[in-house]
């Protein structure tokens, strides 16, 4: 990995020399940001009076969201940062993955004791592969005609595709249907039970002693499966990071970068640009399919309402914060996004509730304003804190404005990641060193 440090980047400039040296390492950047966010959450947890289990659970949820959003951000970075493909239909591909896997893996009709929706009864690993392939196939269908369109039209097509998928799985006609004598369905607007989480199953069965041992230490035993699943996701994230970094640092990624800068000139270099864009798009969609399978699928139940465009936009914000074009930036951006914008308002509300003795609830805006007019500011505070999801959006705006004023290209936007599988900076240095040595020996014969 030949990522080079931001020479004099916004972060380095404010660090002492020794710290800037460490900061140059990508894993250190990610680790340090994560540690900082963890520390803040531990302090908040302490202020809220969480016990050990409470703290561990708070960090588990934080990590869970960071890892899943990071995978999505890496894909958006592959699509937008490296290839210039404006995919705002991210959720559609996630939905394709999780719904396909669910419908393939649910037990056949008759072998289904709980009486819930039947499926094709395929083994779980086969169903996962099926879900990933389905997401890739939908990506192909979305990309094929629309890559000839201008960038902004392509964006609209991806958004439309995501909505088509959401509305399709919601359709009552598909709630339960029979083809070739096999009954299956999407569950329609009511949603569908997915599949058992293999990690949970392991700790409910052969892994039971571990849970008991942990419980004996006075920690909530259910945290074991929770954290184990997070670790599985971390491994998955590492794999996706490696995949996308390798794609970027290769002749393949080089052509993608060239297309993003100037497609016409890239065509002039005998590159079939449409083929490169389609391949990059499909790889990303396959990863999104897998992400849907492990994210929404792991909750035991999915419904179409999970796959609204808002999720896509949150993922995009993470990439914008980090700076498009940098894998490390995408992950650091995600850590900040989840820590500050996504979970922040919730914890803020709890902190205020803990330390400011507020009584009652003010659910409406007129109520809040009325109280303020009556000289009582508590009403407005109560009302504001009641609106967690609105607060999230407001905070997103404030955070973005603040960040993009100081770093218009995102935190890592000015970073240079050279697209080659070998370290070109090192090669150039060596060639220059050799050239200097030759020049001295030859007495400047050239």
């Amino acid at each position: 990995m030949s990522d080079d440090a931001t020479a004099g980047g916004p972060v380095e400039a404010r660090l002492p020399a020794w710290a800037a040296d460490y900061w140059a390492n990508d894993l250190v950047k990610i680790g340090a940001t994560l540690a900082a966010v963890y520390a803040v959450y531990l302090v908040i947890g302490a202020l809220l009076g969480y016990d050990l289990s409470g703290q561990l659970n708070s960090l588990r949820r934080l990590t869970f969201l960071i890892v899943l959003y990071s995978i999505a951000a890496l894909v958006v970075n592959l699509h937008w940062g490296y290839s210039g493909l404006f995919n705002i239909g991210v959720v559609g591909f996630m939905a394709t993955g999780v719904y396909t896997t669910t419908m393939l893996s649910r037990p056949l009709q008759g072998q289904n004791p709980t009486g819930t929706l039947p499926g094709l009864g395929l083994p779980f690993p086969v169903a996962v592969v099926g879900g990933v392939l389905a997401a890739a196939a939908v990506g192909y269908v979305a990309a094929l005609p629309s890559l000839r369109l201008r960038d902004d039209y392509f964006a609209i097509v991806t958004l439309a595709f995501a909505e088509i998928i959401r509305i399709t799985v919601k359709a009552s006609e598909l709630q339960e249907f029979t083809v070739f004598g096999v009954t299956l369905g999407t569950g329609g607007g009511r949603g569908i039970r997915t599949y058992p989480n293999p990690v949970d199953e392991f700790f409910a069965g052969p892994g039971q002693p571990v849970v008991e041992a942990v419980s004996a230490l006075g920690v909530d035993g259910s945290l074991v499966a929770g954290w184990a699943f997070v670790l599985v996701l971390v491994v998955l994230l590492a794999g996706v990071y490696l995949l996308i970094t390798r794609l970027a640092e290769s002749p393949f990624g080089r052509v993608l970068k060239a297309i993003r800068d100037d497609e016409q000139a890239t065509l002039g270099l005998a590159k079939d640009t449409a083929s490169f864009k389609i391949r990059a798009f499909i790889v990303g969609c396959a990863v999104l399919g897998l992400l849907g399978i492990v994210w929404q699928g792991s909750q035991g139940y999915v419904s179409p309402s999970l796959f609204i465009p808002q999720l896509t936009f949150f993922i995009w914000i993470a990439v914008i914060v980090g700076g498009a074009g940098s894998n490390t930036g995408s992950i650091v951006g995600t850590i900040l996004f989840v820590g500050v914008v996504y979970l922040g308002p919730d914890y803020l509300r709890r902190l205020v509730e803990e330390y400011v003795s507020l009584s009652g609830s003010v659910p409406t805006f007129p109520g809040a304003v009325g109280a303020l007019a009556g000289g009582d500011p508590q009403g407005v505070l109560l009302y504001t804190l009641d609106q967690t999801s609105t607060l999230r959006v407001v905070l997103t705006g404030v955070f973005l404005v603040w960040l993009l004023r100081t770093n218009p290209d995102g935190l890592f936007g000015d970073r240079r990641e050279i697209a080659s599988s070998i370290d070109l900076e090192d090669r150039v240095e060596r060639r220059r060193a050799r050239g200097d040595a030759d020049g001295q020996e030859g007495g400047g014969s050239e």
Binding site: P251, R254, D262, A265, L267, G268, L269, K271, F276, V283
Partner: protein, 290 residues
């Protein structure tokens, strides 16, 4: 190192003006068969109401440096666009190496060895100069996504990367822009961008290069250096079609000249023949040539 010897051998003494003049006077002195590599026949192209091309016909002989001249708006760049496939002609044909390439996409004409540069340099501005060159070589193993990812296959990709780097480095030295190797191409000066674009096109080992005003904005000393290099490459068998407004330059360096005016080819011939045609002078003076 094999690649570097390929482009490094700029023997500057070989290319004095006398030699060039001799060649210009008698193109067949090189001993190469004078067969047309590019045949353009009756191209027309209109944009809305404007007839940008209105009967463009000419041949370009392999191994020659041919000039394409004409006043602003004569249709020179449009001719390049149609030949290279940026857009198809309304009618007419383009043949390259004996094959019909009319209306083929730019990547297809380029992969057949017909490579062009743009009037406005189109460098990849967010990539380093070195990357700009390394994008170009054809059929790189690592352009296959899975080969770039899988541990077993990536080794072969890196081996080829070393070769491509060596080739790119020699090219940078050849163009005297090796000190800019790690600079972002967007930070280059106008003239340096022109150099970069030419160098990048050469990384494809093209059979024929279409150069659209490659010296515009290039300072005179750099220009003569570039011309020297173009002639070196020509002597190695590369074919050039060069759009240029500087008549002296065209007359001095090109073996054949094609004159365009108002979307048509007016005259084709050696510089001397073309110069003696009154029409050409008129075209440049803005006279109304039917």
């Amino acid at each position: 190192m094999t690649a570097s010897s390929d482009v490094d051998a700029t023997d500057e003494t070989e290319l004095d003006d006398a030699d060039a003049d001799e060649r210009a006077a008698d193109p067949d002195a090189t001993g190469r068969p004078a067969e047309p590599l590019l045949e353009v026949d009756s191209l027309t192209k209109s944009f809305g109401g404007i007839d940008a091309l209105n009967g463009v016909t000419f041949d370009v002989t392999a191994g020659m440096l041919t000039g394409l001249i004409g006043p602003n708006g004569a249709g020179k760049s449009t001719t390049f666009n149609v030949i290279s496939g940026v857009f198809p002609p309304d009618s007419g044909t383009v043949r390259f190496g004996g094959e019909d390439v009319t209306g083929l996409a730019p990547n297809e004409t380029a992969s057949r060895g017909l490579v062009r540069t743009f009037q406005m340099a189109r460098e990849f501005r967010n990539m380093t100069v070195l990357e700009n060159l390394m994008v170009a070589p054809k059929a790189q193993v690592g352009e296959t996504a899975w080969r770039s990812v899988l541990p077993g296959a990536r080794g072969a990709v890196s081996d080829q990367e070393e070769e491509v780097f060596e080739r790119a480095w020699s090219m940078l030295e050849f163009f005297d822009i090796d000190h800019l190797a790690l600079e972002n191409a967007g930070n280059l000066s106008g003239g340096q961008r022109k150099l970069l674009e030419l160098a990048r096109a050469l990384m494809l080992d093209p059979e024929m290069l279409l150069l659209d005003e490659p010296f515009a904005g290039v300072n005179p000393s750099l220009e003569s250096k570039l011309l020297e290099r173009i002639e070196t490459l020509r002597d190695r068998g590369q074919t050039f079609l060069l759009v240029e407004h500087d008549m002296d330059l065209i007359m001095e360096h090109c073996e054949r000249v094609i004159v365009m005016h108002q979307g048509r080819t007016l005259v084709t011939g050696t510089p001397e023949e073309v110069q003696s045609q009154e029409e050409v002078v008129e075209a440049y003076l803005g006279g109304n040539v039917a």
